[in-house]
């Protein structure tokens, strides 16, 4: 996986305890077209607090353009932004 760090639009659900679960997201591709990707599987998640900024990392798997791909999403808790961090 390589770092891309692209901002994305996200639909997620939150449990009653406040645990976020990404469902699907939309990303601007290079040709200026929007692409929607369903999050098929969350492999594992971890919390980080680099530089005092809390974030949750989701390692996910999806079928993108006919191929199963692993990627990493990042949810920045203090700004509520979602990022496609690595793919």
């Amino acid at each position: 996986m390589k770092i891309v760090a692209k901002p994305i639009e996200m639909i997620a659900w939150f449990t009653r305890d406040g645990v976020p679960n990404p469902i699907r997201f939309r990303i601007m591709e290079e040709q200026k077209a929007l692409k929607v990707i369903n999050v098929d599987k969350i492999v594992f998640r971890e919390k980080e607090k680099i530089a005092g900024c809390p974030a949750i990392i989701f390692n996910c798997q999806s079928n993108i353009n006919g191929a199963e791909k692993l990627y990493q999403l990042k949810y920045q808790m203090d700004t509520c932004k979602w990022i496609l961090f690595k793919i």
């Binding site: 760090a5 607090k49 680099i50 530089a51 005092g52």
Partner: protein, 418 residues
């Protein structure tokens, strides 16, 4: 104080820079600022401002903290300059303190990037302390993404000296039995509380290393340097026994703002405007701290870097921007000899609580109306930004209408009290 204390001093390595670097890596930048010549400070476009923190590669170009960005960029042409983000630094600092609280409840925040930690109540063997320090260092590196130096000793002073030895990412010990071998050979200006003013005085007496100072005649030191002589002599001998004090705030004694102007101010009106822009922030800070002041002082530095100041004791207490501003302008007029001005400062002291206030017979103007006005201005500025409401005299003047302040008053600042 009991002798079995173990004190840690935790000091973030080039704090602002490594925090900035860690943050940028976490949002996906692929260059680690710590590995290239880079500095934090000022405005990278206009190159105004000073170096607040530097990376180790920048240090190799002999860039010093506190020098101007222009001078730094001349020493190293490809230098990366990053504007400071104090809110991020406060977050990092808080995260560091939170992390330390896992190890001990007795923590004193000494400045934004330094903490003292009392390791008492645990296993007091030196080995255990060393292991614990190592664990703290490693968990900060792993979880928060920056490196720290930790000094271990039996008091705060020695711990602080120890964390300064060799950087980055190391644990050092400086127990009293090691003072002779580890601290005494260091140059005397490395000692806490020996600065650029004390150093030449000590050098004149033939004191060049901390060891020289420690073995010097105390009576002569006391005679020459008064109380500070005793203090630094004790420090040189590793004597210091203040407590790790979780609430290190001493209470506000005064509030002040100053600014260095990018051009020479030669007319009275501009100077008054700049004074007012400083008073705006001083007034806001004074009111938000719930205090009134009764002493106002103004300082001027001219283009030859000569400075002078003048203060006035008031016969009433006030927190009004316009009152402070008027008096500051009067003081300026009395003080100014016509030289071009490069630096202006306003500060207020003799603070008292604003719960009760003795009104003055001789005060002109409507105090209640003024109070309401100030309150409204503060509320509007808090909600919509500090430039949302400005004095009309600043229109088209090209001057900043509200000047000074680091953006966060909850910012822990360095103090000379351990």
């Amino acid at each position: 104080m009991e002798s079995g204390r173990i004190i840690f001093h935790i000091d973030a390595n080039s704090a602002f820079l490594s925090w900035e670097a860690a943050y940028r890596l976490s949002i996906g930048e692929n260059i680690d600022l710590r590995t290239i010549p880079s500095v934090v400070g000022g405005d990278p476009k206009t190159r105004h401002g000073i170096v607040l923190a530097k990376s180790l590669p920048a240090k190799a170009y002999r860039i010093k903290t506190g020098e101007s960005l222009f001078a730094a960029a001349q020493k190293c042409p490809g230098l990366t300059i990053i504007p400071p983000d104090f809110n991020l630094y406060l977050k990092c600092s808080n995260a560091m303190v939170d992390m330390l609280k896992r190890f001990s409840p007795d923590i004193q925040r000494f400045s934004v990037d330094e903490c003292f930690l009392d390791y008492a109540g645990h296993d007091k063997s030196h080995k255990a302390a060393f292991d614990a320090a190592f664990e703290i260092k490693e968990s900060i590196k792993k979880e928060l993404g920056f490196t720290v130096n930790i000094g271990i000793s039996t008091n705060k002073l020695l711990a602080k000296m120890a964390s300064d030895f060799k950087k980055p990412d190391l644990v050092h010990t400086l127990f009293p039995e090691e003072v002779k071998s580890k601290m005494w050979p260091l140059p005397v200006e490395d000692l806490f509380m020996v600065g650029r003013a004390t150093k030449p005085k000590l050098n004149k007496m033939g004191i060049f290393t901390i060891g020289d100072l420690a073995n010097f005649d105390l009576d002569i030191l006391k005679f020459k340097l008064k109380k500070q002589g005793l203090l630094i002599w004790e420090y040189a001998n590793g004597i210091e026994n203040s407590k790790v004090n979780p609430d290190s705030s001493l209470g506000i004694k005064g509030i002040g703002n100053s600014t260095t102007i990018s051009f020479d101010v030669e007319d009275r009106n501009t100077a008054h405007l700049i004074l007012f822009s400083l008073v705006e922030t001083v007034g806001m800070r004074l009111r938000s701290s719930g205090s009134l002041c009764s002493l106002i002082s103004v300082s001027i530095k001219n283009n030859k870097f000569l400075s002078c100041s003048k203060q006035r004791k008031l016969y009433f207490c006030t927190d009004s921007t316009s009152t402070i501003g008027e008096i500051a302008c009067q003081l300026f007029d009395e003080l100014w000899n016509g030289d071009p001005v490069r630096h202006l400062g306003v500060s207020v002291t003799s603070l008292s609580s604003n719960e009760k206030n003795q009104l003055s017979f001789f005060y002109h103007g409507d105090i209640e109306k003024d109070e309401k006005l100030n309150k409204t201005v503060d509320t509007i500025r808090e909600k919509y930004g500090k430039n949302s409401l400005i004095r009309s005299s600043f229109l088209y003047s090209g001057l900043k209408p509200v000047n000074g302040g680091s953006g966060s008053d909850s910012y822990p600042v360095m103090s000379s009290f351990l």
